[in-house]
């Protein structure tokens, strides 16, 4: 059971929002769609959900064109936050569940489960408009998957959440994944993407810069980030072979290497056969890769 996008193009009169987009999401996978504002993420989501027609290309779910897929299999959390302001929290969730064909009894159990998990018990009978922004977002999030969809799209689910709620959401997403839900989400916060995603697609102005597994993306850049704590002065570090750039971060140096093969020789020089407190060679963080890929202007 997979979602496949093949050569998807969305053109408006005077510009192309999405250009030749291709990616595949496997069953039970968490897939991240990353890009700046206006990169074409929401347009892509809308095309997948059949809320907008693509100009060309195919989008299929398990081999079936999206237009013919049972709508109740799908869940969607739009980027902009909002629910029915006049409806009470429980009423709202019942409505969204019933709309997707769920029986009231089953629905009530689900609602109880998620309301408790998201710490919304006290707000259960409050009108949505009286809730804080974060709580409204949690209600909307529950509404997007209360009907147990097979495929869930979350557009910027983390924005506006405090660290505690972000963790709640992260765990909920992982729980859904465990239950076999396929999840596609977008985020500006790369640490979330890094923690959750198996695969991702990097979009820039409607064009895919990378699509595949997170590890593959990182391997493209190699282990070129070297963090160390040493007494060797900055001027000397900068002169070492294979060092492209050196940044000072409090009592640490962060070196960008041309290639990971230079790490060994650097280790020999800075340790000089002695004990060294910190010497860590890593892949670049997704945040750094993103900035590099989209042109140093990531949000």
């Amino acid at each position: 059971m997979t979602l496949i996008l093949e050569h998807v193009v969305k053109k408006y009169k005077d510009f192309t929002a999405v250009n030749d987009l291709n990616f595949t999401i496997g069953k039970g996978e968490i897939f991240g769609l990353i890009g700046q504002n206006g990169a074409g993420k929401t347009t892509t989501f809308r095309m997948i959900l059949d809320l907008q027609d693509q100009t060309s290309g195919n989008i299929t779910w398990d081999g079936v064109p999206m237009k013919k897929v049972n709508r109740d299999y799908l869940g969607y959390l739009p980027e902009e936050r909002g629910i029915f302001p006049q409806m009470k929290v429980e009423e709202q969730l019942l409505f969204f569940g019933e709309l997707r064909g769920m029986k009231r009894n089953e629905l009530k159990k689900e609602i109880d489960f998620w309301i408790e998990r998201f710490e919304l018990e006290e707000k259960r009978h409050n009108k949505a408009e009286t809730l804080s922004k974060g709580n409204q977002q949690k209600v909307q999030l529950i509404a997007s998957f209360i009907h147990k969809p097979k495929f869930l799209i979350l557009d910027e689910p983390f924005s506006g959440l405090d660290p505690v709620n972000r963790d709640l959401l992260k765990n909920a997403i992982l729980l859904l994944k465990e239950k076999g839900v396929t999840i596609l989400f977008s985020s500006h916060q790369m640490d979330n993407v890094e923690e959750l995603c198996d695969h991702l697609c990097l979009l820039k102005k409607g064009i895919s810069l990378f699509s595949g597994s997170l590890l593959d993306l990182k391997k493209q850049y190699g282990k070129t980030k070297l963090t160390l704590r040493t007494n060797v002065p900055l001027s000397e570090l900068e002169k070492m072979a294979g060092v492209k750039e050196v940044k000072v971060d409090r009592d640490e140096y962060i070196l960008t290497l041309i290639d990971e093969t230079f790490a060994e020789s650097i280790f020999e020089v800075v340790s000089n056969g002695q004990y060294i407190e910190k010497f860590s060679l890593d892949y670049l963080s997704l945040d750094e890769i993103f900035k590099d890929k989209v042109g140093g202007n990531g949000e």
């Binding site: 408006y12 009169k13 809308r46 959900l49 809320l51 907008q52 709508r71 109740d72 799908l74 869940g75 969607y76 959390l77 739009p78 902009e80 936050r81 909002g82 629910i83 029915f84 302001p85 006049q86 409806m87 409505f95 969204f96 019933e98 709309l99 997707r100 064909g101 909307q140 509404a143 997007s144 009907h147």
Partner: protein, 413 residues
């Protein structure tokens, strides 16, 4: 799909019917209606007006006492004191007015002297007494007998209508036309108020769902067309509910107060109306409201946030307002060209055509054409709106109505 439609309709209906604004609006209508119906009783409780004291000085030889007969509003007296004494008493406010009646060239002349100016109504009432006295005086000058004079003043011609044109509906008597006119006036007002209330309700509702992005979540599981239909059906049901409540209360009040005397008045109007008239009124009433609801939902889908709803509603409200005023002009004269033209325009025909059917002699084919036009317009606007709604519900743009339509067309074609 039927289940989804039903779930959506239920949500619209339940949410709106419990809304304080809806309940208050319904109550307000009832209060206003009760107020109008029992105005004279209510007035009597709060305002206990005493009759105006009016002194009459008759400087002619004619006998006027039998003409100036006191009633609830005016109490006439015929003091024998001199004019000057009476004027002094007027200044002391012993009288509200002193009317001096004299004669000049065989015409009656009256001077109404006051200290505190009279209200328009009282002025008119006194004037009509004087006018009547003038006529009597004129007749008396001709030396006619009392019965001869009475015949001149009270004779009325007997009028019947016969129309030989078979294409016309059977010629209506003046009574029928009067009844038809008042019934149509009432229908026009009902349509107007329902349009105003429910047009803004549906526009605001769609706009707020779009603005709050709840619509995006809904559209994943239901088609835009289903959503569009649910709004129209839900709000129509709501309008029907309000209609039944208001008219149920109105009926009960008419029927069971004053021993049903008010109901008899209404009955006498209804008896003058034909079945075809009732059919047309109901058809025009509901089709017009549905037409405005479709337009309201479409306009609601164009805005980006609920604050802009009133801005896009303006053209529809103006149109309804024009129809309403044209209908009102028909109360004075229902046969004007203006009325004729507006009775064919689908957005206003609902308010204007019932007046033509009820209060004028109109060819049978005319309301049929107008109704057919309305039905076709409803269907056409529905189809157009449906296809446009699909494009506009997810397009957010700024600017005026035309600008919004342009943006929708630009980004979705």
């Amino acid at each position: 799909m039927v289940n989804k439609l039903w779930t959506l309709i239920k949500q619209v209906y339940k949410q709106k019917i419990r809304a304080k604004s809806f309940i208050l609006m319904t109550l307000l209508y009832i209060v206003v209606m009760v107020g109008i119906m029992f105005w004279s009783d209510i007035k009597a409780i709060f305002v206990n007006e005493e009759a105006l004291e009016i002194a009459l000085v008759n400087e002619t030889s004619a006998e006027l006492e039998s003409i100036f007969v006191s009633n609830d509003d005016l109490a006439f007296s015929f003091p024998t004191e001199s004019k000057e004494t009476l004027y002094n008493q007027l200044k002391e406010e012993k009288f509200d007015a002193v009317v001096v009646i004299s004669e000049e060239a065989e015409v009656l002349k009256a001077d109404i002297a006051t200290y505190t100016p009279l209200k328009l109504n009282d002025q008119s009432a006194i004037s009509s007494f004087v006018q009547y006295a003038g006529k009597i005086y004129g007749v008396q000058q001709l030396n006619l007998t009392a019965s001869e004079a009475d015949r001149i003043l009270n004779s009325e011609a007997i009028i019947t209508n016969t129309n030989l044109n078979e294409e016309l509906a059977d010629g209506k008597s003046e009574d029928e036309k009067q009844s038809g006119m008042w019934a149509s006036y009432f229908v026009g007002i009902v349509i107007y108020f329902f349009i105003m209330a429910f047009l803004s309700m549906i526009t605001t509702d769609v706009a707020s769902e779009k603005g709050s992005r709840a619509l995006e979540m809904l559209l994943v599981s239901v088609k835009p067309s289903t959503h569009f239909q649910s709004k129209i059906i839900g709000v129509t049901l709501l309008a029907l509910t309000q209609f039944v409540v208001i008219f149920g209360v109105l009926f009960a009040l008419l029927r069971f107060t004053d021993n049903g005397s008010k109901w008899k008045m209404v009955e006498s109007i209804i008896n003058e109306l034909s079945y075809s008239y009732v059919f047309y009124v109901i058809a025009f009433l509901f089709l017009t409201i549905i037409l405005f609801l479709i337009i309201g939902a479409l306009f609601g889908s164009l805005v980006s946030k609920v604050e802009e709803a009133s801005q896009v509603m303006t053209p529809a409200i103006m149109t309804a307002l024009v129809g309403f005023y044209v209908m009102i002009s028909g109360v004075a004269n229902p046969d004007t060209l203006l009325i004729k033209i507006f009775s064919y325009i689908p957005l206003t025909s609902g308010m204007v055509m019932p007046m033509r059917i009820g209060a004028t002699d109109i060819a049978l084919i005319e309301p049929m054409i107008s109704l057919a036009l309305l039905v076709l317009t409803v269907i056409a606007i529905y189809m157009i709106s449906l296809s446009f709604y699909k494009r506009s519900v997810l397009t957010y743009s700024s600017g005026g109505l035309i600008q919004k339509i342009k943006t929708v067309l630009k980004v979705t074609t």
